[in-house]
């Protein structure tokens, strides 16, 4: 039980008054980010990342990951009270959450949503605690070709698993890789795709892309949909909380199913959003009350929330063990690790024990803090949503501009953010998914290095990716994910003809 000892050590790292304070600050900022339109988990963390450059890495990651938990919690508030998903992963929560609120059961829905989020996260953290060290130990055996095969698997799963048209997913992914290639090539020292512009020497920072794509783009989209928020009152008191908690154990089957879906979707780069839809869909099919889903069924709030939060948390497992983030927000956290001078990947578990186990311990504590904060402060955050858009919008734009500037203290980045903003707006409307682009931008250089080294090792022979059982099976799995959609369609057709 090495994990338990390590975890206890982690608690001793995380449980200082300073770190606990940061957890509260992080969760409150996170809920705020989750509630406000245009500030999501990914770009909220991106904007606040520069503030942590001077902190020690463990405290910094504790605060940033707590912002992420807060954003996961916060999305549910707007979904239930205003029928506006504050985050994409809380869309499925609106289906039953809002009808409940309309019937005056908002407190119940909110309590159920928060508690389910907490349970989902807890399951995922338990999984990380016991699985991550094993995965990391296993990944220590990986060489460049295995790593490239894992990158390939990550990107191929995107094509196979997102709902967006596959060729659009490929386009936005390749755009990310192309942007990542811009600048100085570290191996040959040559300048790529800079066309004589000195500003492009260092390449594109993905933090700027995240702030533009998700921040500015989102604001522009929100504007189109109109500015008024019409919501119901959300009151929570101890009596409602206890009454709701009494009902929750009934739904243990739904919770287990949704946790499993969430953990799986979080590790593979499906992410929290599809997990929440899948959790909802499965619960609807399996529940005896399935027909009543959509009319304000408590189970319809529990299912997507457990899945979303489990997925959001589980996304940190591949980030910590392999250096491959499972979601855009995990990608931003990975960017943070690099800035603090830590090399994400399997060695982290042997070389940076304090950091890793401090982070894992803070996941337990951060979610407890999160649950307490959201249960006690819902009316406050609901009030923030009543601040008119004509004040909220410019303030968010100012925050984005400051956030983009502080990354490298460069005005060029602020302009770049605006360009990415317009791009995000157009891409969103045309169904080009943004997450693969961000991940490609983050992982581009690392994937290329792995590819080059693998190629060097084999002397340019591509069959090296099939040269042993391990790398071969990862590559085959990757190709299977890539062709998953057409193969499934073909099988469906053949079956249709046969019957």
């Amino acid at each position: 039980m090495d994990e338990i000892t390590s975890l206890m050590h982690g608690f001793s790292v995380a449980l200082t008054p300073y770190n606990l304070g940061l957890m509260f600050v992080g969760v409150i900022l996170g809920v705020l980010i989750g509630v406000l339109p245009g500030l999501g988990g990914a770009n909220g963390v991106a904007i606040l990342l520069p503030l942590t450059f001077t902190m020690n890495p463990t405290s910094a990651i504790i605060m940033l990951s707590c912002i992420y938990w807060g954003a996961l919690f916060g999305g549910a508030i707007t979904s239930i009270l205003f029928n506006i998903p504050g985050e994409p992963w809380s869309v499925a929560t609106t289906f039953d959450g809002y009808p409940m609120a309309q019937r005056g059961r908002a407190g119940e829905a909110l309590t159920a949503a928060f508690t389910s989020s907490f349970i989902g996260a807890l399951v995922a953290v338990l999984m990380i605690t016991f699985l991550a060290p094993t995965v990391a130990k296993f990944a220590l055996k990986f060489g460049p070709k295995e790593f490239f095969a894992v990158y390939l698997l990550t990107f191929c799963s995107f094509v196979g698993m997102t709902k967006a048209p596959p060729f659009k997913t490929i386009c936005s992914m390749m755009l990310g890789f192309a942007l990542a290639a811009v600048g100085l090539d570290t191996v040959t020292g040559q300048l790529r795709l800079t066309f004589g512009h000195m500003e492009l020497l260092k390449g594109f920072d993905f933090l700027i892309a995240v702030i533009g794509l998700f921040g500015i783009g989102e604001i522009l989209l929100t504007l189109e949909e109109g500015l008024a928020f019409k919501g119901t009152e959300g009151k929570i008191n101890a009596k409602i909380v206890i009454e709701t908690w009494k009902q929750l154990p009934k739904y243990w089957k739904t919770m287990i199913r949704s946790s499993a879906i969430g953990c799986w979707m979080g590790i593979t780069p499906g992410g929290a959003t599809p997990a929440s839809f899948m959790g909802y869909g499965v619960a609807k099919n399996m529940s005896p009350n399935g027909k009543n889903f959509g009319n304000g069924e408590l189970e319809g709030v529990i299912a997507p929330e457990v899945a979303a939060h489990a997925a959001g948390t589980a996304a940190l497992l591949p980030m910590l063990t392999l250096g491959i983030p499972g979601s855009p927000t995990a990608a931003v956290l990975l960017g943070g690790l690099l800035v603090w001078g830590l090399q994400p990947g399997p060695l982290l578990f042997t070389e940076q024990k304090d950091f890793v186990w401090g982070l894992i311990a803070s996941m337990y504590l951060g979610n407890i803090v999160g649950l307490i904060v959201v249960l006690t402060t819902v009316p406050l955050f609901a009030a923030i949503l009543r601040v008119p858009f004509s004040i909220v919008a410019p303030v968010i734009l100012v925050i984005c501009a400051i956030g983009a500037y502080t990354v490298h203290s460069s005005m060029f980045d602020v302009w770049l953010m605006l360009v990415f903003g317009v791009m995000g707006y157009v891409f969103k409307k045309l169904d080009y998914p943004l997450a693969p682009m961000v991940l490609a931008l983050v992982l581009g250089d690392r994937a290329e290095d792995a590819f080059r080294q693998a190629m060097l090792g084999s002397g340019g022979d591509v069959t090296t990716f099939f040269s042993n059982g391990l790398v071969g099976s990862i590559t085959v799995l990757a190709l299977a994910m890539l062709f998953w959609t057409p193969v499934r369609a073909l099988v469906g057709k053949i079956r249709g003809v046969a019957s």
Partner: protein, 177 residues
């Protein structure tokens, strides 16, 4: 919800089909540029392993190929959810925020020989302009909100986290540099 019911009646500024096609063509051009630059650097197998353009060349190739498929799909009108990409009124709304934001960044950065005003003064102007113009607030309320928000930012960045933001003549006059 009245807005979505009226949507079909609203004039469309540009159709999704056209936009989809144009974006696909732009992706193709970008892919071609990446391929061209990669061949310039050398996309082959050099004496010491893969050259600088080796990996990006493949990226460019895949980008071009995927863009062609998307362009054809757009031309055939596949996966289109709504016929209108953006209605005239929505586009106006978007520009009513985008243009002031560009102006705001110009104020911070300065244009050509005109120096910028730093981060703080333009932020006050930007928030205030929105409040007066879109929110129809009174001046007193506007100034109170915009100035206090920016003062909070100043305290947070310059003093608490010690992250300096660009400053202009006003900060210099107040000795806050």
């Amino acid at each position: 919800m009245s807005q979505s019911e009226n949507e079909p009646l609203e004039k469309s500024a540009v159709s999704t089909k056209v936009m989809d096609f144009v974006v696909a063509v732009m992706f193709f051009v970008l892919g071609a540029v990446v391929m061209w630059d990669s061949t310039r650097l050398g996309a082959k197998w050099g004496s010491d392993g893969p050259e600088a353009g080796y990996f990006p060349f493949y990226i460019g190739t895949i980008l071009c190929a995927a863009a062609i498929v998307n362009a054809v799909r757009a031309f055939l009108g596949k996966d289109i959810k709504a016929p209108s990409f953006v209605s005239v009124s929505a586009l106006k709304m978007v520009f009513s925020v985008l243009l002031p934001t560009i102006f705001y960044v110009l104020l911070i950065d300065g244009v050509g020989p005109i120096p910028g005003l730093g981060m703080y003064v333009p932020s006050v102007i930007f928030i205030a302009a929105f409040m007066v113009w879109l929110g129809k607030y009174k001046w007193l309320m506007t100034l109170t909100v915009s100035i206090s928000v920016v003062v909070v930012f100043f305290l947070m960045f310059e003093i608490w986290f010690k992250v300096p933001l660009p400053k202009g003549p006003l900060e210099a006059a107040l000795g806050l540099n």
